[in-house]
């Protein structure tokens, strides 16, 4: 059986416990609130540089873009300007579409077999859900991230406030006997993030194909992000924490004058520690696709290789079979067959 996800789940639960025990029983607020966050950000930035730089160091010897549409050739043939880009501008548009709209994933299809009267037919259904949830996941994550900037800036920038207003546009105010949600206003992005990450997890779990290819390294970030979202949601809507205290802690960090507020609960430290772990984990894992997608040579190059020469920095001479050698091998036969030769036979 596939125990990858169990392992990852245990790892994330353990991380939560570490932070909880560390703060609640050992009183290590300073470690979890100051030392680790600083270390994590430093690691994140340095390791991110290191990884991207290690890619950048390797040259791009050949221009091998995937062409997903008609080439620009004869003037009267409509070229797919974006999917087969020949100009830098078009490449930028292609990259923007990839990065912001997940263009390629949007094409996703699902193959299935059908019995027809005369045999088997393979069909391809447009499969949008992975795209939908991937978009939902990334964008809600981004919004959640930006929203947290209210803790990092004073006064809070207008754009962040605008974003908050949009995010909490729909008032979800629901009072029941068990839970009451009303104030503070519900941010949709947090719920979408949790829903999307859950979908991505269930997909790995329930689709046999995806389960088969999934590794512990695939489940771990999902659980980690799920836990981050959950702790955040718990703090905001149910168990409450003193956000003035949270902001003063964060403010201390960003002004490089760390100070520990007293009234911030352990749940916050769990949340913070998980984020810390995510930051450290990020540059060493597949999450680096964030940086890598920019460098993907099948997408970020123009396709006009026949019109503009691409230079390979390490191009080296190779041994070839020259025409002279060739003619030496076959001169006699060539002359017999009436083929022209460079050197007449002696």
């Amino acid at each position: 059986m596939n125990v990858h996800y169990l392992f990852s789940l245990i790892a994330v639960v353990a991380l939560c416990l570490i932070a909880f025990v560390g703060v609640e029983w050992l009183g290590l607020q300073a470690l979890f609130g100051v030392v680790l966050p600083y270390a994590a950000v430093l690691t994140f930035v340095v390791a991110f540089w290191y990884r991207v730089w290690s890619w950048a160091r390797s040259p791009v010897p050949f221009r091998i873009p995937t062409t997903c549409g008609q080439q620009k050739s004869l003037p009267w043939i409509n070229a797919a300007k974006i999917d087969n880009p020949t100009t830098t501008g078009a490449v930028i548009v292609r990259m923007l579409l990839e990065i912001f709209c997940f263009r390629s994933l949007f094409r996703n299809t699902h193959m299935s077999f059908h019995e027809t009267g005369t045999g088997v037919r393979i069909t391809y259904r447009w499969e949008i859900w992975l795209w939908v949830f991937a978009m939902a996941f990334h964008y809600s994550f981004l919004v959640v991230l930006l929203r947290h900037m209210r803790f990092f800036f004073e006064p809070v920038p207008m754009v962040i406030q605008l974003l908050e207003n949009l995010d909490s546009f729909f008032r979800i105010e629901w009072m029941s006997s068990v839970v009451g949600i009303g104030l503070p206003g519900v941010f949709v992005s947090g719920l979408v993030l949790l829903a999307a990450v859950t979908f991505l997890f269930l997909r790995r779990l329930l689709s046999p194909k995806i389960r088969y290819i999934s590794l512990a390294a695939d489940y771990f970030p999902l659980f980690l992000i799920m836990a981050i979202a959950l702790t955040g949601i718990m703090m905001r809507y149910f168990l409450k924490t003193d956000i003035v205290g949270v902001k003063s802690l964060v403010w201390g960090l960003v002004t490089l004058q760390p100070a520990l507020p007293e009234t911030v609960g352990s749940l916050f430290y769990v949340h913070l520690f998980l984020v810390t772990v995510l930051l450290v984990y990020f540059p060493f894992s597949k999450l680096m696709h964030m940086g890598g997608v920019f460098l993907s040579p099948t997408r970020n190059l123009t396709t006009d290789t026949r019109a503009r020469r691409h230079v390979n920095p390490w191009n080296y001479p190779v041994k070839v079979h020259t025409y002279e050698e060739y003619e030496d091998d076959f001169r006699e036969k060539m002359i017999d067959a009436g083929l022209p030769v460079e050197k007449e036979q002696e």
Binding site: N2, F113, H114, V120, L206, P208
Partner: protein
């Protein structure tokens, strides 16, 4: 109870069992891969079979016609003939149905079925199995035919037309077509 009635009543259950038995016959890796989910046929290999088996069972319930059986069996067997199967695996799944139906009669449905009725059905299944074997062999023969003929039809024909087919000599550093086998 008439056996055809049984087949119609227990269609879903019998089909399920039959699917499972087919999944068992897959090579280890794929089989395991299939077993991890409720619908063992979300995989391309199995996918092709779902409706095929359903159609076959329907045919047996009605009293099979040879032409129709061939039409139903051909697409399944044609795929299995190039996949990872021994001949017995490729066609054997049909015979599994006999045991499944007997089990149903004895254990689950607890139904009384006329012996000659059952015998007739089993004979039909046997016939279908043999048909499947015919198809399988036809496919394999076609395959070997293609294998055997491809060089002749492509290379040698052209070379012969040009009168170029000669035995390669040992010391000739050049390599000739005969190496490309």
């Amino acid at each position: 109870m008439k056996i055809t009635t049984l087949l119609q009543q227990q269609r879903t259950a019998i089909l399920k069992k039959w699917f499972d038995s087919v999944a068992d016959a897959y090579p280890l890796e794929t089989s395991r891969f299939l077993k991890t989910q409720q619908d063992p046929f979300a995989n391309p290999v199995g996918n092709a079979m779902t409706s095929g088996l359903e159609g076959l069972l329907e045919e047996f319930a009605k009293g099979a016609e040879r032409e129709k059986l061939i039409r139903l069996l051909d697409p399944i067997i044609r795929i299995r003939a190039v996949q990872d199967f021994s001949p017995s695996q490729a066609v054997g799944f049909i015979f599994n149905l006999k045991k499944i139906i007997r089990d149903f009669i004895n254990n689950i449905a607890n139904a009384q079925v006329a012996q000659d009725d059952l015998a007739r059905l089993e004979a039909e299944i046997d016939a279908a199995g043999l048909l499947a074997f015919d198809i399988y062999m036809g496919c394999r023969e076609r395959l070997y035919d293609i294998k055997a003929n491809q060089e002749r039809t492509k290379v040698f024909k052209a070379f012969k037309r040009a009168g170029l087919v000669t035995e390669p000599s040992e010391d000739d550093p050049g390599l000739t077509v005969s190496n490309i086998s």
